[in-house]
């Protein structure tokens, strides 16, 4: 289980997260939504070790995950796909994927992971030897997610995977993310601006506003709650 208590994160003089607390059960897909600047990205970055927390606690499977280097957390099963271009354009698709499994010792298992990724995203299989900067936006996102799966994660942190993508592609990717949770049992935290889409595939939802939690609950309940819809979903 992911247990977050009173998490507080500062960017210099600005407080980005104010005492955020929530839990995510194993195998759940949690959607974290909210307006720009709400602290969603900061949350993920703190969980993956890129940002330092000022106060609070966070535990994943009873490990304290705060104040560790990102490289180390990967070995504890945490994999973070950061927003924007999370692929390395100068490397090939194959190399980008392999990057995720470099830290693993077992070659057989890594090869198995690669097979699974290519089953999930067949498009990547067609472009293995191409440089990553020749891929379309949707393919890059698939590659980024694929790479994170190669790290053999049990907690997946996804930051706005739908950003800048066409609706059809978004559907594909969201479906793939849902499959990861249902079929593989991964725990996923999905940060999104595309709130409806995220809540549709999620089990639970967390609404952030200006660094604090504004609402939590089952995704279905949040999606239909008029107050939440008006304030944070825009209609």
């Amino acid at each position: 289980m992911l247990k977050i208590e009173n998490l507080t994160v500062d960017h210099g003089a600005i407080r980005a997260l104010h005492g955020v607390s929530f839990n995510v059960e194993l195998g759940q897909l949690a959607a974290v939504i909210g307006a720009n600047g709400a602290g969603k990205t900061t949350l993920l970055r703190t969980l993956s070790g890129l940002n330092k927390a000022s106060e609070g606690q966070a535990h994943w499977s009873n490990h304290n995950i705060l104040h560790s280097k990102p490289e180390k957390l990967v070995r504890h099963g945490i994999s973070h796909v950061s927003e924007g271009k999370s692929v390395i354009p100068e490397l090939t698709v194959s190399e980008n994927l392999e990057l995720g499994s470099l830290w693993r010792r077992n070659r057989k298992e890594s090869a198995q992971s690669k097979k699974e990724v290519l089953e999930l995203f067949p498009r990547l299989g067609e472009r293995l030897s191409q440089r990553a900067d020749t891929l379309s936006g949707g393919e890059r996102q698939m590659l980024a997610i694929g790479r994170s799966i190669m790290s053999k994660p049990n907690l997946l942190l996804l930051d706005e995977p739908s950003l800048g993508l066409a609706p059809l592609v978004i559907e594909q990717i969201f479906q793939a993310i849902r499959d990861l949770t249902t079929a593989k049992g991964l725990t996923v935290i999905l940060v999104e601006q595309n709130a409806i889409g995220a809540l549709k595939i999620a089990d639970i939802g967390i609404v952030l506003n200006l660094g604090s939690i504004a609402a939590t609950g089952s995704a279905a309940a949040l999606k239909d709650d008029p107050a939440v819809r008006a304030a944070y979903l825009g209609f």
Partner: protein
């Protein structure tokens, strides 16, 4: 015709040594975005060690690899104890590149004075292990000597090894990924700090080789105020910049270009203008391509 060929050969040999030095500088630049002037000092120190080992064992073939190891170790040491704290403190806009460069300049000075202190007026001797008398072709001695062949061979071997390491191994993938995108690499579980140290170590080994080859190709002796080492430092850096400081292939091209053109100028124009010629070559290349022959436009984000 003969002279042309000879000059070309001399240029290629000298140029390949500059390429090695340039590779050393490019490796450090790519992994830490710092121009490492101290690389010249490290090459010097490693060469002294090489000379000492040669004295003890009498074998060049033991001295060279050991000196490379020493160079790698020195360089890794520098990265860990000197560069990491330095990088933590910079990040000030505008002075970003100036301060680390100046710091490595200071480091160069310290290395030189320490070497001067230890070795003083003693000279390290690195005579060429193979004959440097040219082969006889059609009754004339050409510039190709066994020693030259050795130098070219060593440089070629190193470059092939480096290419293989970078392109075919997991370490190489880690090195490339860490220099292109350190954050993504960390999130993929790569120990970027360790990789950076390894990058510096490789750089040190390349520099040590360049230093030793430069000595054996030249006067055969190492001294702290050695002119050859100033040459190596300056031309190595210029070669790296000509090639586009982001690229290893560029470093090789830059070094060869510089070496060949300078050899011709030395032969047909005169010795004193060699440095000025280097400057002109550099400025001309950069006028046409401000990012160097192979450099990436707009630079890469660290």
């Amino acid at each position: 015709m003969f002279e042309f060929f000879n000059t070309l050969l001399i240029g290629v040999t000298a140029g390949s040594i500059y390429s090695l030095m340039a590779i050393s500088i490019v490796l450090v630049w790519r992994s830490t975005r710092v121009v490492n002037f101290a690389a010249g000092g490290l090459a010097l120190a490693s060469s002294f060690v090489g000379a000492a080992i040669l004295e003890k064992t009498g074998s060049f073939w033991i001295a060279l690899p050991l000196a490379m190891v020493v160079g790698a170790a020195f360089s890794a040491f520098l990265e860990y104890f000197f560069l990491r704290p330095l990088l933590k403190r910079s990040g000030d806009k505008g002075a970003e590149i100036f301060l680390p460069i100046i710091a490595t300049l200071g480091l160069l000075g310290i290395i030189k004075t320490i070497l001067n202190f230890i070795y003083g007026d003693r000279i390290g001797s690195l005579p060429p292990p193979l004959s440097d008398k040219g082969f006889i072709v059609s009754g004339e001695s050409i510039a190709l000597s066994p020693m030259r062949v050795l130098i070219l061979g060593i440089v070629l071997l190193l470059m092939i090894s480096l290419t293989l390491i970078f392109q075919r191994t997991n370490l190489g993938l880690s090195l490339r990924a860490s220099s292109f995108a350190p954050e993504i690499s960390r999130l993929s579980g790569i120990r970027v700090d360790l990789i950076r140290t390894i990058g510096w170590a490789i750089s040190g080994a390349a520099g040590a080789t360049a230093g030793i080859l430069q000595t054996t190709n030249g006067s055969g002796s190492v001294s702290p105020e050695s002119f050859e080492f100033s040459l190596l430092l300056v031309f190595g850096f210029v070669a790296a910049v000509i090639g586009g400081i982001e690229s290893l292939v560029g470093a090789v091209l830059g070094g060869l270009t510089l070496g060949i053109i300078l050899a011709f100028i030395l032969m047909y124009v005169g010795g004193s203008l060699v440095f000025f010629a280097a400057f002109m070559i550099l400025i001309l290349v950069l006028l046409l391509r401000p990012q160097g022959i192979i450099g990436a436009k707009g630079g890469r984000r660290a």
